[in-house]
């Protein structure tokens, strides 16, 4: 919804990346690669899918979104500012003394349901929100964006069991599957494959999507739940650092801060894109 007011989601994704690049550069924040990998997902969710309204950020009928991969907070701040939940100027206070914009996402800001940052927490919280919604027969949906790295956490799978057991059809987990975690590739740290089979075996209805293909993301979100009686899991195949050639698919840009020539080069690439 509101796509016409804010421009198309491709443009929104590009603005998310540019904001995040500035924020991490000026504030000295990390995780630009993890933000870039989910920028398209955030753009489609907030530009198209989620029923949220900056004029009524606490409307009980709103869709809930929880960024369980809280280290990509810069991306969520950027998309919320673009949607008008707070000013775009506020983004540049990110990481600065006294700001509300902590590196890991903070619920001090309107539009943010919960603060996260410790991995493996989000899915339990949204399961609680979804269960509460079911109990009162509410029609809204609850979305959670997870990293692949936090699927190492046992608590993620505790929540996965619960959501399937209780048939939380109003719950959607999106995994940003960029295959690179904190300091090494997923395949070298703890293999998640067969990943789709794992979620399926846990009782979820699973779909896979190119996490940078806006049409495909939009189409997936138009058919929720993916199956009757089950929570939905969207495995989004993504590229860490997507959008800046020298950041793509590297472990380095999980923590590296873009400065100087690196910032200029990244900025030019993002600006140069349609």
């Amino acid at each position: 919804m509101n796509v016409h007011a804010i421009g198309d989601t491709q443009s929104l994704a590009r603005r998310i990346r540019i904001h995040a690049l500035r924020m991490t550069c000026e504030g000295g924040g990390a995780h630009i690669g993890a933000i870039f990998s989910c920028a398209d997902i955030l753009a489609v969710l907030y530009g198209d899918t989620l029923n949220v309204d900056p004029a009524e950020p606490e409307n009980p009928a709103r869709d809930r979104f929880v960024l369980s991969k809280g280290h990509a907070g810069g991306g969520l701040y950027a998309v919320l500012a673009e949607r008008g939940f707070f000013s775009v100027e506020k983004l540049l206070t990110h990481y600065q003394d006294g700001t509300d914009l902590s590196g890991h996402v903070s619920h001090k800001l309107p539009g943010i349901e919960v603060s996260t940052g410790a991995l493996g927490h989000g899915l339990s919280i949204v399961a609680g929100m979804a269960y509460a919604g079911k109990l009162r027969g509410a029609g809204h949906r609850v979305f959670c964006l997870l990293s692949d790295g936090e699927c190492d956490e046992g608590s993620t799978w505790e929540a996965a069991l619960f959501a399937a057991h209780h048939g939380l059809t109003n719950l959607v987990a999106i995994v940003d599957y960029n295959r690179i975690q904190g300091i090494a590739p997923v395949s070298e740290v703890l293999e998640l494959e067969p990943f789709v089979d794992k979620w399926t075996a846990f009782g979820w209805a699973v779909r896979e999507v190119d996490g940078h293909d806006h049409e495909a993301l939009r189409a997936a979100f138009e058919h929720l739940p993916f199956a009757a009686g089950k929570p939905s899991c969207l495995i989004a195949h993504t590229t860490k650092g997507k959008g800046v050639s020298f950041m793509e698919n590297t472990v380095l840009w999980h923590y590296r801060v873009p400065r100087g020539a690196e910032f200029d080069a990244a900025f030019a690439e993002l600006e140069g894109k349609p």
């Binding site: 899915l123 339990s124 919280i125 269960y131 608590s155 619960f162």
Partner: protein
């Protein structure tokens, strides 16, 4: 205490439709009546305390008043980060209930003994910490928690002290109860082990020493005023807890008195000292083994009074 707690919840659940009771697959038999009467208000989440605590936060943020329930360290230490980040940081209306406080589950072994929980829970911002000494305090604390909005920890004990409630007495959260009057020495206890303090007070009275016995049912927020009065008005203070002395009741009392500048004539902490409760036995047996029982309190008091008398002369 457990049955009293469940009894009060069962009685008041109809008045609190927002109440949701989560158990991590414990409470066999004791929850049947509650489950049968209020199936929509209880949920067995399985043996998954991290998920239970995160769920509780999510449910509370949607308007529910949530109780999480399990044994010993399972609802606290096992899921401490969920309690800190998801519950406390969001000020979520979640009450964490541990049955088996201290060494209640004596013969089962140390894994089921909660002996650091008070220190850890009270360090969390926004968390209230309550450990009732008897069935009346348990019932009253449960009633209070049903109406209190915010995070709290309720530590229930298998043992219970004899009733000391006065006719017409009102339970005041955060306010220490003076359950016995005296001015020679103060015995400040939390939880069912208050029974040992009362026994020690009886024995000391025989020797002509009158004890003030305090039930510190609320460890956070702590009643600094009543403690400072005890420091001023009695010879000294001894804290008694079925818990490590580090950071628990004794630690809390010491912090409070030091900050208030109300230094007692003497001070001692009865509790576990840098040890796991690895010995096997009943709760009473373990209290004796670990020097937390009436005899140990008597030894501490006579030793301290002796020292105090020596200094005075």
């Amino acid at each position: 205490m457990r049955d009293t707690f469940i009894g009060v919840l069962t009685e008041l659940a109809p008045q609190h439709p927002e109440l949701l009771f989560l158990t991590a697959d414990l409470g066999f038999g004791v929850l049947n009546n509650f489950v049968a009467r209020f199936p929509r208000q209880c949920l067995n989440v399985g043996v998954a305390e991290q998920n239970m605590s995160g769920l509780a936060a999510g449910l509370a943020l949607e308007g529910h008043s949530v109780f999480t329930y399990s044994i010993g360290n399972f609802p606290t230490l096992r899921c401490l980060e969920q309690i800190r980040n998801d519950i406390c940081y969001h000020g979520a209306n979640v009450k964490i209930v541990c049955i088996g406080g201290g060494m209640s589950y004596g013969p089962v072994g140390f894994s089921h003994h909660a002996t650091e929980d008070l220190a850890i829970m009270r360090s969390l911002p926004g968390m209230e910490v309550i450990a009732p000494c008897d069935l009346w305090e348990t019932a009253e604390a449960t009633r209070y928690l049903l109406t209190h909005n915010g995070p709290a920890y309720l530590r229930l004990d298998k043992s219970t002290a004899p009733a000391t409630v006065l006719p017409g007495e009102a339970f005041q959260p955060g306010r220490i109860r003076v359950v016995r009057r005296g001015s020679d020495v103060t015995l400040a206890a939390t939880g069912g082990i208050l029974a040992e303090a009362l026994l020690a007070a009886d024995a000391l009275a025989e020797l002509g020493t009158e004890c003030r016995v305090l039930s510190v049912h609320t460890i956070k927020p702590l009643d600094a005023e009543t403690l400072a009065a005890a420091a001023r008005e009695t010879g000294g203070i001894i804290s008694i807890e079925e818990h490590a002395v580090d950071g628990g009741l004794g630690g809390a009392i010491a912090e409070s008195l030091m900050e208030a500048g109300a230094l007692p004539g003497f001070f001692a902490r009865v509790g576990l000292r840098n040890t796991f409760s690895s010995v096997i036995g009943s709760q009473n047996y373990l209290r004796k083994v670990y020097s937390l029982d009436c005899a140990a309190i008597l030894r501490t008091v006579t030793s301290k009074l002796g020292i105090a008398a020596g200094v005075a002369s």
